[in-house]
Amino acid sequence: MTNPDIALPDAEVLCQQLIKDVQTLIREKNLQKPLLIGIRTGGAWLAERLQKALSLPELGILDISFYRDDFDERGLSSQAKGSELPDSIENRDIILIDDVLMSGRTIRAAMNEIFDYGRPASIKLVCLIDIGQRQLPIQTDLVGAKLELESGKKVKLSGPSPLLLSVD
């Protein structure tokens, strides 16, 4: 249900731009062994693209189902698949990747989960789209595009290939 009033950016173009920006980020911040971690499912698609393009040896996938803060309202997602992270994330520079940033609650849950695996040296946040409406003090280090939507509207990423944005 795409809203014709909103011009949505091309997700594939944004992804290419993010690849360049992440490369620059790694160089400028001098991250020695950066670890990409994508949040299921959209963030994981983006993380896989970035890993390939940047030829990084490892990739982490995070499923935050067990860390959500709305269990009492929504219960558990039947899609909960579990996370796949490398054996140790101790002292790693993590680049956390998600598709759409809104309230910030997903990122809060993701960071809590990451700390149950170990103590990273740092975490940077990279998102394809930021639609504002933040409820927590969380911000991106890199973002593909910022959008303002009518209240009640959300952006969704479908994929993994091609990546496509839609509003519903």
Partner: protein
Amino acid sequence: MTRHSDPTQVQLTADGRLKHFLTTEGLSKALLTEILDLADSFISTQERAVKKVPLLRGKTVVNLFFENSTRTRSTFELAAKRLSADILNLDIARSATSKGETLMDTLWNLEAMYSDMFVVRHADSGAAHFIAEQVTPGVAIINAGDGRHAHPTQAMLDMLTIRRHKGSIEGKTVAIVGDILHSRVARSQIHALKTLGAKEIRVIGPATLVPKEMTDLGASIHYDMTRGLKDADVVIMLRLQKERMSDALLPSESEYFKLYGLTEEKLKLAKDDAIVMHPGPINRGVEIDSAVADGEQSVILNQVSYGIAVRMAVMAMAMSGQASEQAKQKAGDNA
């Protein structure tokens, strides 16, 4: 204890999600698979440095064991703790009920302590179902074994063991050996195996311990190991309860071992890559030879590990079903 309704229905929400876990009977393949998938995820969270996830943080789980069981109770306790719930262990066999308090009085007192879930083991068939019908909405009941009726979490951890070691349950030949008559585990296993698509389910044991009704559940009956074990993919040994000797259902332990004890030699009748399972505690030299229990084909200790993951999965799903039903109720009240 009288049953008032169909246990399959009592354990599901209006939209078909699990809200209690009482029996594997009548649950869909999709739902049983969901339990196994979720349990797989919980195996991986337990391999981390921090084994807990915050899913049931702030919830109170009560282990209500009217019958003793060290293994089942401790794996439920670990499962609750690894979901971040608080857990209270009550050894009811030695407490209030022995002073004359009724089952429901015990339960209402525990409810008054703001409990969110009861894990119930009871010697009467239907006890967990009875409690699920009486309990306040929002409180989940997990059956940890009721009489001869069901032991659904044991059955599901066995399904997970088969799936992880044999790839799937579909198309597999499974032999269940021993005291089928008194076994709630066997009943729950047969229901789950059937739903998940096992090719053949065989029950093997002496005629005194293998009821004919097993054929109604979809199992074939064998009185000798040679035919029963032939080409099996999975051999599940059941514990022989020693009190059965005094009931005159069996001649002697050594006689039983000779006929139905699993030895390396008998195991050769099954497929070369067959796995050997046992719900524990094992009686070495009665139903299983030590060489087999400790052998390469044995996955008995894996079963214990998977037991925690399966219990985490059903606890999370039942609490989730209760939460969503309560949220709907609240939304309906406000509308």
